[in-house]
């Protein structure tokens, strides 16, 4: 403890002023100043107008759609993400390397490409869409479509969060539990799940945050219909920026609410990570 404090005062490594200066200047210029301006912009609106706008049916519905769809998608991603991570860490099978390499495709594939492709795949002239139509499930232009797009963009977050934890987890723990007569399910629940829980939560949070603000991959498959409740928040913001009916103040106000939501989530993720780090250090 004492040693640490000493180091704090006299770091002999050079470059403190320069690197800290670059960091703070660039962060302010590119991120903080524009963001704060956007927030201040929404204060040009009176409180009454603000609440009137935020409680408009299409706005509240868009928030409900964004939040619910991204929640459901994040839960689906946690289930499949854990299975994928497990399979990739614990089993050997043909095609494993390819699967591992392609998990991050959603990060590399532009969202607009993902959006139009998923839409066409699940529309009634795409082959998956046609097959699902026959059993009475419509995907394109419904909320189910929004969820599928969010599952697509969110899956790497969960797999890449859980995978390293499973790699470090010694197989001996499970073997011991199994030998002592615990069922596979109990072993998973009592031995493995607590270990991956913090990572899973942080993957969940990242996928959720990405889903709530997502634009490119969602807007094509959603159809953006107010009647069907398939408008998402980012669509509402964007529609206020388009030349026909520019409403910067309205856009800024809705963005502010979305921003607060995102910050709450960022805060939660950091809390979880902090908590997890303390647990593993103890």
């Amino acid at each position: 403890m004492k040693k640490e404090r000493l180091k704090k005062q006299h770091s002999i490594i050079p470059g403190r002023g320069m690197t800290l200066g670059i960091t703070i200047t660039m962060l302010s210029l590119f991120i903080l100043i524009p963001l704060v301006s956007a927030m201040l912009y929404s204060f040009r609106m009176s409180w009454k107008d603000f609440t009137e706008l935020i409680t408009r049916p299409n706005v509240t519905q868009a928030f409900a759609t964004s939040i619910w769809c991204s929640l459901i998608a994040a839960v689906i991603n946690c289930i499949f993400g854990t299975i994928l991570a497990w399979v990739l860490v614990r089993y050997e099978f043909p095609g494993k390397r390819l699967m591992d390499a392609m998990i991050e495709l959603p990060f590399a594939l532009p969202t607009a490409v993902a959006g139009i492709t998923l839409t066409k795949m699940y529309s009634d002239n795409g082959f998956l869409g046609r097959a699902l139509e026959r059993v009475g499930i419509r995907v394109s232009y419904t909320r189910l479509g929004i969820i599928i797009a969010m599952v697509f963009i969110g899956i790497p977050f969960v797999v890449r969060a859980v995978q390293p934890i499973l790699e470090k987890l010694p197989a001996a723990h499970e073997e011991a539990a199994l030998m002592l007569g615990a069922s596979r399910f109990t072993t998973f629940r009592k031995v493995i799940f607590p270990e991956i829980m913090p990572a899973l939560l942080s993957g969940f949070g990242l996928a959720l945050a990405r889903g709530i603000g997502e634009y490119g991959s969602v807007i094509y498959i959603s159809g953006n219909s107010e009647k069907n409740g398939t408008q998402v928040v980012s669509y509402i913001i964007m529609s206020k920026l388009n030349s026909g009916n520019v409403d910067y103040e309205g856009a800024a106000a809705i963005a502010l609410v979305l921003l607060i939501l995102s910050f709450l989530m960022l805060f939660l993720i950091n809390m979880i990570q902090h908590f997890a780090a303390r647990r593993t250090n103890a």
Binding site: L27, P34, Y91, M121, I155
Partner: protein
């Protein structure tokens, strides 16, 4: 008995994984290729060599290269500052850097309009600069705006990859070098850089991937097709035209981005492989 059940569970889980993998990741890729070539090879070539496509490709490359350069400089500086020194507000700074990850890209575009747009508070400053220097710089609805939006959404990628590596490595080697009188840049080049080079490359690859594919942030701030449009915006414009031909063209242009994505994935795996081998 238990062993057989084990095997059943194993193949069941592998089966589920493959099903998910094929439906969610492989099929969309094939779909792009099939639809891109729906009207034959000639019209595919026409679509990807159209003027709008080439102009969009140029803007995309400009934005990607600048964003990559800015984020690399920032990432290195931020990682150095955050891991080598202790100062008041370090945790806050570290949290602020990650902001773009949890913000809707639409808000990023909007933020620049609110700052530099006609009704933004920086607009008079910009006007003044333009008048005194006789220039005609516009930061929104222009290529510089596209670059700014791209920088915003890719901001944390490089620093995020390097910071954990530098934390794990500690500062002892750098301190020893500094005690022996090495200059800052020499320390970085000879001691720090070899440790972080794969992480740096990895972050740069992720940054590139996000930069050329960004849609929401750029869409808010770029309105002129053929001038300030990037490839994703060009795809959107073609797709939204709605005719069967233009949708095929949209997929043809998409196939360019798919090719770039595949190159990125291969590069990423090579870097990961070498990075792991070093460990």
């Amino acid at each position: 008995m238990k062993e057989r059940r084990e095997i059943i569970v194993k193949w069941m889980l592998i089966g589920i994984s493959f099903l998910f993998f094929i439906i969610m990741l492989v099929l969309p890729l094939l779909e792009v290729i099939v639809r891109a070539l729906a009207d034959g090879w000639d019209s595919y070539c026409n679509a990807i060599s159209a003027d709008h496509t080439l102009s969009a490709l140029k803007v995309t490359l400009i934005a990607t290269v600048i964003a990559l350069a800015v984020n690399t400089v920032f990432g290195l500086a931020a990682a150095w500052a955050l891991t080598k020194f202790d100062f008041f507000g370090r945790n806050v700074l570290s949290t602020l850097i990650d902001i773009p990850f949890s913000i809707s890209p639409v808000i990023a575009g909007l933020a620049f309009i609110m700052t530099f747009g006609r009704s933004g508070w920086m607009a008079p400053v910009l006007d003044w600069i333009n008048q005194t220097l006789g220039t005609d710089i516009a930061l929104v609805f222009s290529v510089p705006g596209v670059v700014l939006a791209t920088i915003f959404v890719t901001f944390p990628f490089v620093s995020r990859e390097i910071i954990p590596i530098l934390y794990a490595q500690g500062s002892d080697e750098e301190e020893a070098a500094a005690l022996m009188g090495a200059k800052g840049f020499t320390i970085f080049r000879k001691i720090t850089f070899p440790h972080i080079k794969w992480g740096l490359l990895y972050g740069m690859i992720l940054c590139t991937a996000r930069a050329f594919g960004e849609f929401g942030a750029v869409y808010a701030i770029s309105k002129t097709r053929g001038e300030t449009f990037t490839l994703p915006l060009e795809i959107d414009a073609l797709y939204m035209t709605g005719s069967a031909d233009s949708i095929t063209q949209a997929f043809a242009v998409s196939s360019l981005l798919v090719a770039m994505a595949v190159v990125i994935l291969i590069g990423k795996n090579i870097v990961e492989y070498y990075g792991r081998k070093r460990k």
